[in-house]
């Protein structure tokens, strides 16, 4: 089964970049692209994607605002994609699986994607809950320091 993926970024070229990279992946299906926070909330509610590539600084509501607005809706696996490193700690707090700093190369992207695919797999295997609580106690992934 393909991983249903949503791209959220206000800059068209940034969306292009993610699409280019994701198109080469056989087990990824892009379900949509959103250019601002409000659109993203609506799209997530409607299509319930498995994986979300989420920009932080966006018009109307930002990436964290999107997660807040979703509330109790089942959360997709989240990879933040941003030009700022200072949001990393907050991203960790909301259990993002990775944090991609723009600009990034294919290798770094692949690493994030592998991690995300693992996470999606784990969720479907029902181990998501344990994984998540383990994550919040370890909280020292080398890439986030």
């Amino acid at each position: 089964m393909k991983i249903r993926t949503l791209i959220v970024d206000d800059e068209p070229l940034a969306r292009d970049r993610l699409r280019q990279l994701l198109q080469d992946e056989k087990n990824i299906e892009i379900t949509g692209e959103c250019a601002d926070g409000l659109e993203a909330v609506a799209a997530i509610r409607k299509t319930a994607p498995d994986l979300l590539f989420l920009d932080v600084q966006m018009p109307e509501i930002d990436g964290f605002g999107v997660l807040e607005a979703l509330g109790t809706v089942p959360m997709p696996v989240i990879v933040f994609v941003t030009a700022y490193e200072q949001f990393a700690v907050r991203a960790f707090e909301v259990h993002a699986v990775d944090y991609l700093l723009k600009p990034f190369d294919r290798e770094r992207f692949k690493k994030a994607l592998r991690r995300a695919i693992d996470q999606v797999g784990n969720r479907e295997g029902g181990v998501f809950q344990q994984r998540q609580s383990a994550c919040s106690t370890i909280c020292c992934h080398p890439d986030w320091r």
């Binding site: 800059e11 070229l13 970049r17 280019q20 700022y84």
Partner: protein
């Protein structure tokens, strides 16, 4: 400066004034005593000092209106004829005034009547008084020139400081992670679709950085140069935002050679994009306008965002406060700078400065 300081400095000024004329008076008293003694005349020290101080304190009193006149009518090019027309009759009045006042004061120093005291003064001091008038005027000018020179020097320093600040701001904007890394990310994306466009964007980014890193301290550039710099910045932003950002320019051709402060528009346009365009999903528009209006150059930057908002954090306004300070230093009160809500919504920044062409001084 506190009121106390002002009083103190004023006090000291008058004290110095008094000491200055007293010293001149005393030196003349000394000279008068020696020359009288040599000529075999019997003059006491008391008499010599009293006469000389009588002379010079009268000059001291009369010099006050002279200094006032000298300040009002200087000899800068343009007002020479008018000033000469004031100072020539004034010097005659000064000389006459001196003789009248001195004769009046003289009545306490000798038995002579006013007319008896006046007559020798008229004969002996008439031309000397004229000379004193012009010496006072000259000294007053010298002080004024020195003061103006110092002011100019301070102003130049101030301008250099503000330009450096504007450059730093431009550099900060470009090195701001939001702009720099997003731009690099756009280039990274473009490289996979359109290598020419990616190339172009690298060039634009380099040009922007080069201008901001430029170490020359050119205070003013032509509007054409300023707009070229802005175009590079806007092109990058347009590539990043795609259809979300449109730019409209309405520049009157006769304004292109007008002189404007270096990097004056960039913070205004950046402000329009960051607060007028970026926070909104709807398509944004930045408008740049320049026109000539009765001896002034009117520059306007307009966006269709939220307009004047009280909730914009004060540090975001730093760019605009530096703009204001620079305009004041460069043009004094002869400038206008206002922010208001644009007729169709959004913010309108309007800047009015004296219209000056590249190759003419005025």
């Amino acid at each position: 400066m506190t009121i106390k300081n002002v009083l103190q400095s004023r006090w000291i000024k008058w004290l110095l004034w008094f000491v200055f004329w007293t010293l001149i008076g005393l030196s003349f008293a000394f000279q008068f005593y020696i020359s009288s003694a040599k000529a075999g005349l019997e003059v006491t020290w008391k008499q010599a000092v009293s006469y000389a101080l009588g002379d010079w304190y009268v000059f001291a009193v009369l010099s006050i209106p002279v200094v006032w006149l000298a300040r009002r009518f200087d000899f800068e090019s343009g007002n020479r004829a008018r000033s000469l027309a004031v100072h020539l009759p004034a010097s005659l009045v000064f000389s006459l005034g001196y003789m009248i006042l001195r004769a009046w004061v003289g009545r306490w120093q000798s038995e002579a009547s006013f007319v008896e005291a006046f007559q020798p003064l008229l004969v002996k001091t008439w031309h000397f008084n004229l000379l004193i008038y012009w010496v006072i005027v000259a000294v007053s000018f010298a002080f004024d020139y020195y003061r103006k020179y110092r002011e100019r020097e301070l102003r130049t320093m101030e301008l250099e400081k503000q330009l450096a600040q504007a450059k730093l701001q431009a550099l900060q904007m470009q090195l701001n992670p939001h702009f720099l890394f997003n731009t690099l990310h756009s280039i990274s994306s473009l490289m996979h679709q359109d290598i020419e466009a990616a190339d172009g964007m690298i060039t634009q980014l380099s040009d922007l950085l080069r201008t901001a890193l430029d170490s020359s301290d050119t205070q003013e550039v032509t509007l054409r140069q300023e707009l070229e710099f802005l175009q590079r910045y806007l092109k990058i932003e347009q590539t990043r935002f795609g259809s979300r950002l449109s730019v409209k320019t309405d520049i009157a051709p006769d304004t292109l050679d007008a002189r404007v402060p270096n990097l004056i528009l960039q913070p205004l346009v950046e402000n329009a994009i960051r607060h007028g365009i970026e926070p909104h999903a709807k398509p944004g528009r930045v408008e740049l306008r320049a026109k000539r209006e009765a001896g002034t150059l009117v520059l306007e930057v307009c966006d269709n965002g939220a307009g004047l908002r009280k909730d914009v954090p004060s540090e975001e306004r730093v760019g605009l406060s530096n703009t204001r300070a620079r305009l004041r230093t460069l043009h004094g009160e002869a400038h206008g700078f206002e922010l208001r809500d644009a007729p169709g919504g959004g913010l309108l920044v309007r800047l009015v400065i004296p219209f000056r062409k590249e190759n003419s001084g005025t």
